[in-house]
């Protein structure tokens, strides 16, 4: 059983734990869906470990998870960007285009091949969304205290995760073949990125809970 609880799983479990504490009473659809997303992330990681041990492949699990990731992160950016600009059509079009690539990849390479093309593309797309958000945030005339602004920290964490992971995605083939000391290089990079992502997200949960308390 111990093999199921890897570093990533523990990081995500901590994030889920804080999410439940700070967001369970939240009425916003986005923040509530985030809890579900975290739950699915933990579930995917555990299932992935189990499948790897039992069936010697877990690519199907991670390939399905990519769809959940694309959908939820796009939704998150839609929620936050929508506060500053009308980007419903843009985000929806990009989302559809990504889905076409996602499905197209499986048609060509099969479901048991890790969909690295889609992962690389979504990394770039989410980085662009994050930069767009920061541009609009700075351009906006109204001042917001970023120290306690949940959207800023959520997007900040997401930007670090996807921007930091860009190289790992592009050089996926080389990285897979080599390892760094005892640990796989890819795993090492993603463990680090996950710590940043969930660290930022946990702080976003705290800011959100504070925001909710102030508004009440």
């Amino acid at each position: 059983m111990r093999y199921l609880f890897s570093f990533i799983v523990i990081t995500e479990l901590i994030s889920l734990f804080f999410g439940i504490i700070f967001l369970i009473r939240d009425k916003s659809v986005f923040w509530r869906t985030l809890l579900l997303y975290l739950f699915l992330s933990v579930g995917t990681e555990i299932l992935g470990k189990f499948c790897a041990k039992t069936y010697h492949t877990n690519l199907l699990v991670y390939n399905i998870y990519i769809f959940i990731e694309i959908s939820f992160i796009s939704y998150g950016f839609y929620v936050f960007l929508n506060e500053y600009a009308d980007i419903k059509k843009l985000i929806f079009s990009v989302y559809l285009a990504i889905l076409i690539i996602y499905i197209g990849y499986f048609i060509f390479y099969g479901i048991n091949s890790y969909n690295i093309l889609t992962v690389s593309i979504i990394s770039v797309v989410f980085v662009v969304y994050a930069l767009m958000y920061f541009y609009l945030l700075l351009k906006d005339e109204n001042y917001v205290d970023l120290k306690f602004h949940p959207a800023f920290w959520w997007i900040g964490g997401t930007l670090i995760f996807y921007f930091g992971g860009t190289l790992a995605n592009f050089f996926d083939d080389i990285i897979r073949e080599n390892s760094f000391g005892k640990y796989g290089t890819r795993l090492f990079i993603y463990n680090t990125l996950n710590v940043f992502l969930h660290g930022f997200w946990i702080y976003a949960f705290i800011c959100r809970a504070r925001q909710r308390k102030v508004c009440q």
Binding site: L137, Y143, L146, L167, F171
Partner: protein
Amino acid sequence: MQSSPTESMSIILLASLVFLLMPIFLLLYIRSYNRHKKNHFVEKENMRQKFESEILKTHIEVQEQTMQTIATELHDNIGQLLSLTTLTLNSINVPENEKASEKIENSLSLVNKSIKEIRELAKILHGEQIVESGIGNAIEQEINWLKRVGGYELQVSNNLLELSVSSPDKDLIILRLLQEIINNIIKHAQATSIHIDTYLKNETLFLTVKENGIGFDYEAARTKKTGIGLASIQKRVELIKGKIEVNSVVEKGTSIFIEIPYP
């Protein structure tokens, strides 16, 4: 010359580290830019408040000047004219005509009453002169006028009569505040009882006015900005850095609590 896998890995890891640090620096830059934005925002807000305050001050000054002109006109011209009329009427000798005498008597009485009323009105309008004798006395005069108007059961506790400190600018605004509140009560409240309490404590002047009138929805009046008198009271209180609290219950009455740093 080909690089070894370990070297490639090191390069990728190093590049990943750079890619990790870049967004962190970007976030730090955004926070720093936002801090500048905050300063700019605060500065803009201060300027706006200052501008509004200046406008209000000018508005009050103009209003005060207008009132003084009216007061002077009432006192010096109309008052004099009426006085002259009284003298003229007095000088008429009509002993043979009792009816005419009676009519002239009545007219005289009316004219005298008018002179008295005009003098009282001139006094009220000429705020600066009233507050010269101190805010306590000015409030007392206002209360005396209210007593003469009649129709209200008055409970007054004016503890500002023996004040050793004064602030002429604030005094005039405080007097106008009280006048505005009393005018609002007379015009709209349909009250039968008015309670006025004034005192100075810890360099703060407290003014409380309570009445048992019809009351109103304070929040609605504030958001819809229907209460011009109320808005004017609030602006005046803000101008002298005071605080105001209005508690109103429909059919129960209204209480207004004002705190002003004084002198």
